[in-house]
Every structure is written in C-alpha cells, then in structure tokens.
C-alpha cells in the first residue's frame, strides 16, 4: 500500500523522471522477456530469406508473425531488437562498472598517497580529456585487434568493447572520489580513530562512502547514457561487436543501406528504441543531479 | 514652493509578488523635488527608499512591480511612458548613481567606451567631441591623468576611482536630476568624505537637482536641502533639513536622531536606540506601522494609519507628534 502511494506521489511531483523510469523498466523487461520465448534471430536458424523485407504488419504485404517487419535477412525485428537491446544494456552497465572500479581505485590511490602519484594520475586524467570515450574506445579496439588478431578478437569482441568503453570512463569517478578522500583524510576524527588501532584507509572509507554515494550514482547514470551511445555508435561503425552478434547499432547500420530503397522500418525501429533508452537514462541522470545538487556542488 | 516642482511623486505604491501574493513594499508614497534642490531620503534598509528611486525611471526588477501612483518630471508623466520614451529620459533627464562601484561598471569595456557610449546615446556629438568631453568628465570627477583612465578597464581603478566614474557616467548627459542610491555606502570611510565633497561641487556646477537616498543622517545633514524620512514603506516625515535636525516631529525621526548608529553583522548601520525592529515586508502591523516601537502610541495609533499632514514648515504622519519643546 505505502509503496503504491509513494510511487503515485513520485509520479505527481516529478512526471518526467517517473516516465523515464517507467520507460527504462519497460525496455529492460522487453530485453529480458522476449528472448525467453523467441530464438536469437542472429543465429542462422533465426533467418529466412523468404521473409526478408517484410514490412510492418499494418502495411501492405505485412505478416502477423513480423509485427514490426523483418530485415534483409528475414530477421524478425521485434525479437532482433530485444536481443540487441540486451547487448546494449549488458555493455552499458558493465562498462560503467569497470569505469567505476578503475576510477574508484585510482581516485583512492590519488587521494591517499597524494604527492607525485596524485600529480601523475591527475595529469593523465587531464590529457585524457582531449580524447572522448568514443575515440578512445575505437583506439583500444584497434589495439586489441592488433594484439589478438582478427579471428581471436572476434570471439572476445564484447569483452573488448566493455573494457574499451570502461577504460574511457574512469576520469570523472576518480576525480570525485579523490576530492572526497582529500576532504576527509585530514579530519581530526581520523587521527582519533587511528589511536584505537584501526587502519587509516578503513576509517576514511567508512566516512567517505556515504558522502560519495550520491555523486557517484549521478555520474554513473550520466555515463550509462554515454556508454550506451558509444556501444551503439561503435556497432554502427562496424567496430567491435561483429555483425553476427545482435546489437542495435548493427541493426541500424544494416537498415541504413536500405533507407534509399524505401525499407525504412529496418533502421527506424532500432533508432527509436535506442533514442528512447538514451533519453530516459539522461532524463533520470538530470533528475538525480538536480536532486543531489547541494552534494555535488563544491566537490568538482 | 513657488511653481510646479521638477519631480513630483504622488501615491506611489510598489508590491512584491511572493507565492502568488502581492505584498506592499511602498504604500502611497508622495514627495517632490524642486529644480536644483537636494532631497535626502533616509530610512533603515528595507524601508523602501531604494525601490522608490528605481521606480522613478522604471528600473524595478520582478518580482517588484509598480502597482499605482503618478510620477511627473517637468510636467511629463514618467509612469505612462512607453519603453522607448523612457529610454530617452534615462541618463538624459534623470541620472542614476549606483551604489556599488565594484559591480556597476562593465568589466570588459574601457572607461572611455562606457562614457562615450552613454553620451552618444543622448547628445549629438562627433567622435572627437565625444572623446574630449569624456576626458573632461574624467578630469571633473577628480581623476588624474584622464588619457590613461580613458583607456583603462574598470579593474585597473580603485573603488573610490570607480565610484567617481559612476558619478561621471550618471552626469555626462547633463540630466536635470540625479538619483543617487547610497552613493557612499560601499566605500571606505576615508573615501566617503571626498566623494561627498565631489558631489557637492558637481551639484553646484551643474545645478542638477538630486534625490539622495541614504541611511546615513550625517550624509543628509551635509548635503540635503530637505529630508523625507521613510519607515516601513511610508513617508513618516518631511521637513527642511535644518528644521528636521533641530525639531523632529515624528517619534521615529526623533529616535533616529538620538540613536548612535552602529554597524550590524553585515556592516549595515543599524539604529540601536529604538527598541524592536522595523517590520518586514508582508508583516505590517495594523494602524501606524511604528506603533509597536513607539512610546507615545495610543489606542488610535493601532486602528488607523496616520496620514502625512502639514506641520510647521514640514509634514509628519503621526497622531501625536512631538512639539518643539519636547525635544531635549
């Protein structure tokens, strides 16, 4: 009961973020449930050339088996997108986690050790500013191909993309956590607690964690949007995730070729799903940022 | 007063819109300034004196708004003017000296540029004439080396020097009246006296009338011909300066005179001799706004606000004004 009432209150006081949250939950369910009932259309068994270019069901030549139509390989777009969306979500969430872990570790190191270590880490962060996530991820992917060779790197493709994006996202996390550590580490209570024999790192961590939760959550949400766009863009460019693996970017890339000949639905639906997801994540991120604003201020 | 005064403000009311309510900030205020006269407007901060000055040339910033009242300048109704007409009044007929010299000058334009732009707007002068007149003004407000100042950016000048430029900017299009809103408050004490001297000299030279808004009775005593005392958005007393200082009629004015002003925690001068504090916006008591703090208050003061009525050679808004003999 109270949960229902709380949700109703949230919807009334912040309709935009509530709608965004609903869209995100809806898309997650879509990506989770559809694969339970339908085979992966990117497998050979999921394709049938007979059905290729079937338009959406309400258009002439539509087929109820393909509500949103089929692509050039006869893949059912409704299921193909669910699989693609699953890739987007997996890559997005995992790469943000990697960015968080990497940035968190470097931020803690920078804040605790200080001095030259701190200077070096922060300088690297400055230089990395020149290279946005997309560019870095492309470079890292190119390096991975050079190291592993094309065949072997195809098998590792998703892992490589996750790490490529994750590595590109560490800077903001590191900066936030570093400044938190620097604020806390010289407080009197740290010295006081040291007397009791606990380690300095444990004490500071205990005090920092509640403080950094809010900004880290905000940065994570905003970076989730960036990570999803980056993955989709990489797949669209034909880098990283191979075309045989489901992804929204690959579907769009594929459909783009048929835009001129009038088969708009092949790229339009994946575009729509991608844009919905990204806008919902961004709206949520903006809302969180405004909500936690006093905590974010004076921190950067 | 012989003929029509230069500036005539009648029943000016200003409201502040907060949470959908229109709270009175200024309540039916009237005052006149004759040509060449200096009217001192005194009161505590929050009494509505700065708002009254800004309202004259329509400079109020929302949520402040003029609710009613008539303002005439040399017979022209300022309150009825369209924005384009008002622009020709601002600077040209009414100069305005801002309070804080540190924030009042545009930080990215040279002093000379700001002066010539202002004059070019109102006076038909060529490039050379504009420049030489700007140099003149820099010299007239007492700054050495006008050519250097002309090309300088505001941050290269001290606070006192900047306030001189602010005064030059207000006067350079030769207005008939200058509204000076706390012109010395933001300055060091040592610079305040110099600034008053400068304003007195310029007043004598230009003959422009002045509406001098201040919380500082010392400034009023030095500069003003007449004084209007503001309290909680109303004029409670007006009188020639000498009369006011010798024999204040309103108990609030008398309290002001007796009080030794001391700066509060924000550096503003506060009157300490009168018990209590001036009511805030939207918290006006019934009747005379001063009655909760007034030792002379009777039953009638609680029920109705006293109108401003002539008394001697001034006027006071009080049912039980002090007599001349009451003043120690």
């Amino acid at each position: 009961m109270t949960a229902v009432r709380g949700a109703l209150h949230a919807v009334r006081s912040a309709p935009g973020p509530s709608m965004a949250a609903a869209v995100i939950v809806g898309l997650f369910l879509y990506a989770l449930v559809v694969p339970l009932f339908a085979a992966d259309p990117f497998r050979l068994s999921g394709m049938s050339i007979m059905d290729s270019f079937t338009p959406p069901v309400w258009m002439e030549g539509g087929n109820p088996r393909f509500p949103l139509g089929a692509d050039d390989q006869g893949r059912n777009l409704l299921t193909a997108m669910a699989y693609g969306l699953r890739t987007s979500i997996i890559v997005g969430v995992s790469s943000v986690l990697i960015g968080l872990v990497l940035g968190g570790a470097l931020g803690l190191l920078s804040g605790f050790v200080g001095g030259r270590t701190d200077a070096v880490i922060m300088r690297i962060a400055d230089v990395q500013l020149a290279y946005p996530a997309l560019l870095l991820a492309m470079v890292i992917d190119g390096i991975a191909t050079a190291v592993y060779g094309r065949e072997r790197s195809a098998g590792l493709a998703i892992t490589i993309v996750i790490f490529a994006i994750g590595i590109a996202l560490w800077v903001q996390f590191a900066r936030t956590i570093r400044s938190s550590v620097m604020v806390e580490r010289d407080h009197d209570y740290v010295a006081a607690a040291l007397v009791t024999g606990r380690s300095k790192i444990a004490i500071v961590l205990q005090h920092i964690l509640p403080n950094v939760m809010a900004p880290v959550l905000v940065i994570a949400t905003i970076n989730l949007g960036i990570a999803i766009i980056t993955e989709a863009t990489l797949s669209f460019l034909g880098i990283g995730i191979p075309l045989t693996h489901p992804s929204l970017g690959a579907l769009i890339r594929n459909g783009n070729a048929y835009l001129q000949s009038g088969e708009w639905w092949i790229s339009a639906w994946p575009c729509l799903v991608l844009v919905l997801l990204v806008i919902a994540v961004n709206v949520l991120g903006d809302h969180l940022r405004d909500h936690f604003n006093p905590k974010l201020r004076g921190r950067s | 007063m012989s003929s029509q005064p230069l500036l005539q403000v009648r029943d000016l009311s200003i409201t502040l819109t907060r949470a959908g309510m229109h709270l009175p900030v200024l309540d039916a205020v009237s005052f006149d300034v004759a040509a060449g006269e200096v009217l001192g407007v005194v009161g505590e901060s929050g009494a509505g004196k700065s708002v009254a000055g800004a309202a004259i040339i329509d400079l109020l910033v929302p949520p402040l708004r003029r609710a009613s009242g008539a303002i005439s300048l040399g017979g022209d109704r300022l309150d009825l003017m369209r924005p384009a007409e008002m622009r020709r009044v601002r600077g040209k007929r009414v100069g305005f000296v801002f309070q804080d010299p540190m924030t009042s000058l545009n930080p990215v334009l040279s002093i000379g540029r700001q002066l010539t732009d202002t004059m070019r707007t109102h006076l038909k002068l060529g490039r050379g004439a504009l420049r030489s007149r700007a140099l003149d003004w820099i010299e007239r407000v007492g700054l050495p080396n006008p050519r250097r100042v002309f090309d300088a950016a505001p941050h290269e000048l001290s606070g006192g020097q900047r306030q001189r430029i602010v005064i030059a900017l207000a006067l350079c299009a030769e207005p008939d009246i200058v509204i000076a809103d706390e012109p010395t408050t933001a300055l060091d004490v040592s610079v305040q006296a110099q600034m008053l001297d400068l304003m007195r000299t310029l007043h004598a030279e230009t003959g422009a009338a002045m509406l001098l808004i201040t919380h500082d009775l010392g400034v009023v005593a030095k500069m003003a011909d007449r004084v209007a005392v503001f309290y909680a958005g109303r004029v409670v007393e007006t009188a020639p300066t000498r009369t006011l200082f010798e024999a204040p009629r309103h108990p609030y004015t008398a309290g002001l005179m007796a009080a030794t002003p001391a700066p509060d925690h924000e550096g503003r001068m506060q009157v300490t001799a009168i018990p209590g504090a001036m009511p805030g916006i939207g918290a006006l008591p019934s009747g005379c706004a001063f009655h909760p703090r007034c030792v002379r208050a009777k039953a009638d003061c609680l029920s109705m606000a006293p109108p401003l009525s002539p008394l001697g050679d001034g006027a006071a808004a009080c049912f039980h004004p002090l007599q001349r003999k009451d003043v120690p």
Partner: protein, 323 residues
C-alpha cells in the same frame, strides 16, 4: 603575461611529447611491420633496407627520437594497410575534413549564436522555448541517428540533397576542394549540419545561461539606467561578457567534436580523416591510428591554448595575470 604564455606553451609541448611517446610505443610494440610491409618473396637486402628505413635496429630511445624528428620533418612512417606514407594519406584526406569542420563552424555561428542570444534575452518567449526543446535532441540523440534522420527527410523523402560523397571536386595547387562546385556545395550541407548539431546545442545552451546571468548583473542595470538601447546593451555590453565562457567551454568539447566527425564522415561516406581513422581501426593499422592520436591531441591542445592566450583580447581583466 608573456611569462604566463611561455609557461603554457611549454606545458603544451610537454603534454604533446607524452602523447607522442604513447603513440610511438603503440607502433613499436604492436604488430609485425616486417611481416606486413614486406612481400613474401622479399630478398634479404630489401628486408635490411626496410629495417633501416624503420630504424628497427636502433635502441628504443633512439627510435623515439628519430620518430619525433620524422614528425617534425613531415615523415609519419608507413601504413601497414596500404603500405603508403601516412603523411601523404593524411594530407590527401585533410581538405575534406577541414571543409566539413569549417562548414559546420559557419553553420554554428550563423544559427547558434543568434538563437542563443534570443534564448538568453527572451527566455520566456515561445520561440525560445521551442529552440530549447529542439536543442535537447542535439544533446541526447546519437550523432549517427541525427545523420540518418536528415538523410531520411532531405535525401529520401524530399530528394533535395545527396546523402553521400563530396560531389565534384576541383584541384587547387594539389589540394582537392568541393567548395567551388555546385554539387560540392549541395553535398556538404547535410554532413555539416550533422556535425554542427552537437556544437549548436552546446553554444545555444551556454550562451543562454551566460546571458541570463549577465542580464541580472548590476552593470547591465546601470547601462539601462543610462538610457542605452536594448540592442546595444545585449549585443555589446552583455554578449562580450557571455562569449568568453562559451568559447572556453566549446574548446573543451573539441575532442567530442572530432569524434563526431568520424561518425559523420562514416554516415555520409565523406572521404576525410575520420573515415581514414575508421578504416585504420578496422584494419588495426597501428601507425595511422597512432599518428591520428597525435593529430587529435595536437589540434585539441593547440586550439585550447590559442583560446586561452586570446582571453586578454576579449577580457581586459586577464591582461596582467601571471605577469
């Protein structure tokens, strides 16, 4: 002032050296240049010649120095993919990207600056609200979706503009330009708008915020109290204060803009540096990737340095800083 400038220039050179070193290490440690560059039937002499050409027989530091020396003299090494000079490949692609960048900058200036001023001066007007609403698209939509959308509307539906290529180009002094032909002009419109979408949104939003802030300031109120016209107040007195932070923030977004140029060039099959980089990543052509990294870093650092060193021209307060 001069001292400060010298210090910043030295800092920039140091950072570029570090970037160059990282790029060099990529080339030195990844891939097998001899295997890639030599034909299978190469003779020992050919092999030795290539080793000398690439200075593979030298110690690492020595190789880095000759790598740097090569860059200074315009020798960027050999591509593994095409076996051509990287310098020549870049030079061949540069005009197309430069044209695209300039065109998108012109579009940004012509559209975003007036729109940003409008939104800052009249934030509550209907037009401003519409502009702000549309500008959300520029921030949230992935760059390639913007491109596809434009192609769908203006190429496929309306058939007004081409969706790929540069149109006809003319050679001037060895450099190809599309800006002298009608088809070149038509071809550049859609990619330039796609690339400009992000910058325009950014400039509009920054200008609006800055102008709304400046509009509240005392010196603008004082200017109004002196009777200056609204046009002069906004276009001279306010914009001068708002432009500096906007340009600074835009400079920091340059990396993003370069990344978007890769995407845009791919969507419109624009034969510029971005598509060269894309092909090189796909082919794991490390020398080209490394040189592109240095190129992007240098463009980013130098343009931001130029912006910073030009501050005093816009804002006299900064003239004496660091002196």
């Amino acid at each position: 002032m001069i001292l400060h400038a010298v210090e910043r220039v030295l800092q920039t050179i140091l950072v570029l050296l570090v970037i160059s070193f990282v790029a060099f290490m990529l080339i030195a440690t990844l891939g097998d240049p001899l295997g890639v560059l030599l034909p299978p039937d190469a003779t020992m002499a050919e092999r030795n010649a290539l080793i000398a050409r690439l200075s593979l027989d030298q110690p690492l530091m020595q190789r880095f120095l000759s790598f740097l020396g090569g860059i200074v003299q315009g020798d960027f090494g050999l591509s593994y993919r095409t076996q051509e000079e990287v310098g020549g490949m870049i030079l061949e692609r540069l005009p197309a990207t430069a044209e695209l960048a300039i065109a998108s900058l012109v579009i940004t200036i012509l559209i975003a600056i007036p729109a940003g001023i409008l939104c800052g001066v009249r934030p509550k007007a209907l037009v401003s609200r519409v502009i702000m609403f549309v500008s959300i698209a520029g921030i949230t939509l992935p760059n390639f979706v913007v491109g596809i959308l434009l192609i769908a509307v203006f190429s496929v539906q309306l058939g007004w503009l081409p969706s790929f290529g540069r149109g006809q180009t003319v050679s001037i002094g060895g450099l190809e330009t599309g800006l002298l032909t009608w088809s070149g002009w038509r071809a550049i419109i859609l990619p330039a708008i796609t690339l400009a979408a992000f910058q325009m949104t950014f400039v509009i939003r920054m200008l609006r915020t800055q102008l709304m802030e400046v509009g509240q300031s005392e010196h603008i109120r004082f200017a109004r109290a002196r009777g200056l016209s609204e046009a002069r107040i906004w276009f001279v007195y306010a914009i001068r204060n708002a432009l500096l932070p906007t340009v600074t923030m835009l400079g920091l977004q340059l990396g993003n803009i370069i990344a978007f140029s890769v995407v845009t060039e791919s969507v419109f099959a624009w034969p510029g540096l971005g598509s060269l980089f894309l092909q090189s990543v796909q082919a794991a052509d490390i020398p080209v990737i490394a040189i592109y990294l240095i190129f992007v870093g240098a463009v980013y650092m130098l343009i931001n340095l130029a912006v910073e060193l030009s501050y005093p021209l816009i804002d006299p307060r900064l003239k004496r800083r660091g002196a």
